[in-house]
């Protein structure tokens, strides 16, 4: 029996081999678990890893049944519900929570024949940009072990970049999929708001959250998307995006393809505060695209400067509401309720179970929503949101907005989280698409030293397919995709 090293290959290549070949699948999975065994101690990308016997058994069954994804494993961010499998949100308050149901996206992947290999590390309740607020400790960037992998879906990005899993589900509220994708040289995709069902995604900010994908390349994202899109009757905000056939287009794009003559638009204000090294790498990537026929334009939208405070006002407010349920003695961290008055019980459990950043956001969020301040902060932020959407949609109708995904290099562990404003400022590029509901991707622009740099491309609402295809074109032209760090 020939042995093929499928490690480091994207899913679309792995599938060629393992379809109808359970033996190759088993070998592949063993190698994955070997890598996990070897690297997990340092990288700490996972919070929970399923036992290999279970995963292999399920994968082989899916493979033998001829399911489309043939037993391909997937890592799932730990704020996405998996039935019977611990789901912690990176928090002490849910460290023993075992959901009775699967998120719709997880259910759809399982039905297509994929198998959940484990739950990945994340900032607590997705509140953070570096995965350092996790109750379970931080993850490390495989490209530089002294640095963060980004966040809040840091573990998902670690798993894919270090090839502990060929792909991951993450979540993105203000950049949490694109940020770690950029920092780990992987492909990150945040859908149009509503395109992927939120049922089972443990909410941080309901009007901004979306499940996203972190993959080895854009073709894998196109492939997986086919199995998980579609309106969900369990999600009142879900939309219907039709994607059949578009994976084939992405797959067949090659060096010789005539790329669509797309317009790239840079909004000056989004580039303010970008570090010199990052700027150079991203501009040189854009130069390559322009040389291949893309047009490039710079415009000014001064209101962009208010995207960050508007985003944080909305995120904090909605988070304070979404986290009001924790403390209830049905699940999660619990105490003996006997003899305790309910307000003492709740404050005790919540104070014990939530970390500092979460507490800060909940308290400020409650304040924003309280009487007298609702107009002052929350309504104002919603108005800024409308202004931004009205200003940006015309650009998105004629082209794609480009920027560095992150304004700075991945910070060293411990560096970023002391100063809250400094931490929040990392999101300056990525919050814009969440606010206006647009899809966005991060592709590898290049490297500064050995550190990955991401190029963010934003598309119009419901334009996810074309956006991923543009991403594929960019990958091919710029030349960096399916990258592997030396760990």
């Amino acid at each position: 029996m020939r042995s093929v090293n499928l490690i480091n290959r994207p899913i679309h290549e792995v599938l060629e081999y393992i379809r109808g070949s359970p033996e190759l699948l088993i070998e592949y999975l063993y190698r994955l678990y070997e890598r996990i065994e070897r690297y997990e101690k340092i990288l700490r990308g996972f919070i929970t890893i399923r036992p290999s016997e279970e995963v292999i058994r399920e994968a082989v069954e899916a493979n033998r049944e001829g399911k489309a994804l043939a037993g391909i494993p997937i890592a799932v961010k730990d704020n996405i519900s998996t039935a019977g499998l611990r789901t912690t949100c990176g928090s002490a308050i849910l460290k023993d929570y075992i959901p009775p149901y699967d998120a719709t996206v997880v259910e759809r992947l399982k039905r297509a024949g994929s198998v959940v290999i484990g739950k990945t590390n994340m900032d607590e309740f997705a509140m953070g940009s570096t995965t350092e607020t996790s109750f379970f400790g931080p993850s490390r960037n495989p490209w530089d072990l002294s640095r963060v992998p980004g966040g809040s879906s840091g573990g998902s990005a670690v798993a894919v970049s270090a090839y502990l899993s060929p792909a991951s589900l993450g979540s993105d509220t203000g950049g949490s999929v694109r940020n770690p994708a950029a920092y780990t040289a992987t492909f990150g995709y945040k859908p149009t708001y509503g395109v992927l069902s939120r049922y089972g995604l443990i909410a941080y900010a309901s009007s901004l959250d979306q499940i996203g994908l972190i993959t080895r390349d854009s073709v894998d994202a196109a492939l997986l998307l086919e199995y998980i899109v579609g309106e969900d009757p369990m999600d009142p905000t879900s939309l219907d995006l039709k994607v059949s056939g578009f994976y084939r287009i992405a797959l067949n794009m090659g060096e010789k393809t005539d790329f669509p003559n797309a317009s790239l638009i840079a909004i000056k204000e989004m580039w303010e505060g970008v570090e010199g090294d990052i700027y150079k790498v991203v501009m040189s990537a854009i130069d390559k695209l322009v040389s291949s026929g893309f047009s490039y334009d710079e415009v000014s939208v001064p209101e962009i400067r208010y995207a960050l405070p508007a985003y944080y006002v909305l995120a904090f407010a909605e988070a304070s509401s979404n986290l009001a349920r924790y403390g209830i003695p049905i699940y999660g961290l619990k105490e003996d309720p006997m003899n305790l008055p309910w307000d003492e019980y709740y404050s005790k459990v919540r104070s014990m179970g939530f970390g500092r950043e979460v507490k800060r956001r909940i308290m400020l969020g409650s304040y924003i929503l309280s009487a007298g301040y609702y107009e002052q902060y929350y309504l104002k932020a919603l108005k800024v949101r409308r202004v931004l959407r009205d200003k940006l949609l015309p650009f998105l109708r004629r082209g794609y907005i480009v920027s560095p995904t992150m304004p700075v290099k991945p910070p060293r562990l411990g560096e970023a989280i002391e100063d809250p404003i400094k931490l929040y400022a990392m999101d300056i590029e990525t919050v814009v698409p969440n606010l206006i509901g647009s899809p966005a991707i991060s592709v590898v622009a290049g490297f500064t030293g050995s550190l990955p740099v991401g190029l963010q491309i934003i598309g119009p609402p419901m334009g996810d397919k074309d956006l991923i295809l543009i991403g594929r074109a960019a990958e091919i032209i710029i030349g960096y995709y399916n990258m592997s760090p030396q760990i």
Partner: protein, 100 residues
């Protein structure tokens, strides 16, 4: 600053320790200043955009579907007595009663 940490604790149902409170007080002032940047924008005639989904929430037909079993609850809750979930007392705590 007209808000107190105590009030924020009550709204968020949290109780912070001494160190946490001090750190938080500093952070809050900074963050509120950061938020107040929003005052610089001209928003007089702008309608708030409550949601990017314009068509509204999807609704459902009045039909039943299976739920989850009580077994899950019994396995997950702190204590279950005769099928009821045991919760704390519903009388307000004496300590809290003295606030406002």
């Amino acid at each position: 600053m007209d808000i107190t940490i105590e009030r924020l604790e009550r709204l968020a149902m949290l109780r912070l320790g001494g160190d946490e409170r001090n750190a938080l007080a500093k952070d809050i002032a900074k963050i509120l200043d950061f938020f107040r940047q929003l005052d610089e924008v001209e928003l007089e005639n702008v309608e708030p955009l409550f949601h990017v989904i314009e068509k509204g929430a999807t609704v459902r037909e009045d039909m039943t579907r299976p739920g989850i079993s009580r077994e899950w609850v019994e396995g997950s809750a702190y204590r279950v007595v005769d099928g009821y979930i045991v919760g704390p007392r519903t009388i307000v705590g004496e300590e809290r009663e003295s606030h406002q």
